[in-house]
Homo-oligomer: 218 residues x 2
């Protein structure tokens, strides 16, 4: 769907994060219009916020080393979703996006639990080849290895929240916003503003609202 000539960005996300959902919806609008490309990568908030990893660039605690049935619900559901998305990715970029968005919408728009039922429904919505999906999910060791690559690169970049977008020039920042758009002109404006902040001659490191003056939801 993405034009081969579109700029190639990257987005790191965690399925548990509603800001990541809105970020991916924005990215999808620009992808569909052929204006921007976005490579999907995974970052684990549970891993990033884990006490054993505090203050360390090289994580001591890895989500990929955990059994699927251990840890709190964020840990379990995040790992389950990442591995499922890795399996969906084997059916190509479009299927990867369709599955990822379907799962995000189920959880953050339709308020379903991030669990096996939501994953199977998202796979159906995305129109995955279900036999292939099941076979690929069973190849769990390889899916964990692939996820580990994403988590290691995220740690190297110093990602701390999602969505974090990386521009073709390597500029990378957490971009947190409250509102949803699926409208092209609006998506263009919101994406352009992000690029302007990162590319400003001011060398902007952070714009962050004061805690008790939050951004407005519309």
């Amino acid at each position: 769907m993405t034009s081969p000539s579109a700029p190639s960005n990257t987005v790191f996300f965690d399925f548990v994060c509603p800001y990541a959902w809105r970020g991916l919806e924005l990215a999808q609008v620009l992808r569909k219009a052929g204006e921007q490309g976005f490579k999907l990568r995974h970052f684990s908030l549970v891993q990033g916020n884990h006490a054993d990893n505090a203050g360390q660039q090289e994580p001591a605690w890895w989500l990929t080393d955990q059994p699927g049935n251990e840890g709190n619900s964020f840990q379990q559901s995040s790992l389950l979703a990442f591995l499922a998305a890795g399996a969906a990715a084997r059916q190509g970029e479009e299927m990867h996006w369709a599955f990822t968005l379907a799962l995000f919408r189920a959880v953050h728009e339709d308020k379903k639990s991030l669990d096996e039922a939501a994953i199977m429904e998202a796979a159906n919505t995305a129109d995955l080849d279900m036999d292939q999906f099941a076979a690929d999910r069973a190849d769990e060791a390889a899916l964990r290895t692939s996820l580990r690559t994403d988590l290691a690169e995220a740690a190297e970049i110093g990602i701390f929240g999602t969505p974090t977008f990386i521009l073709p020039g390597g500029e990378a920042a957490y971009y947190r916003f409250e509102n949803l758009t699926r409208e092209l002109d609006t998506a263009r404006q919101w994406w352009k503003l992000y690029g302007e902040v990162l590319n400003s001659g001011a060398g902007i490191a952070t714009v962050k609202r004061a805690k008790n003056r939050p951004a407005k939801k519309t």
Copy 2:
């Protein structure tokens, strides 16, 4: 110097912070051009980051309750500078700005220590009435009360870093950037971009670089 019709913003800052220095230089360019007004207010980073205040909206530990010769060097120098700036403010808005900028430049541009010598030099540079300045500094209880008002309002707003600018509409955010400008067109652009982020329909809460992809200094 500020035009009475210029929009009235507020900036919270701490003298120990180099980002606050650049923020105030930006504000001064716009003030001098008569395009924006900025009310100077104090926020204490030592107080904001104090362990006793973690997770509490109403601070338990107040800089204004501390003796001037206690705590680490950031605490002592910050309190000393705030009280001196409060005394300078009694000679009017222009003197307040002149003293504040002279002290910021001494510390962050000329790399001097934030101490009594720097304060006296800044007072001279700002051309304060030195007898009046000495008399006003001696009125320490009143200066502490006035500082307390700033710190209490900052806590109420949920300010956590400096500079934090508050727009006339009440939008407030930490704006951290690496580069210095004293050029009007550039200052206009950097200020406009900040306003665009806060007023975007996206409801932007945060744009923050990944730790290992810092903003570029030029």
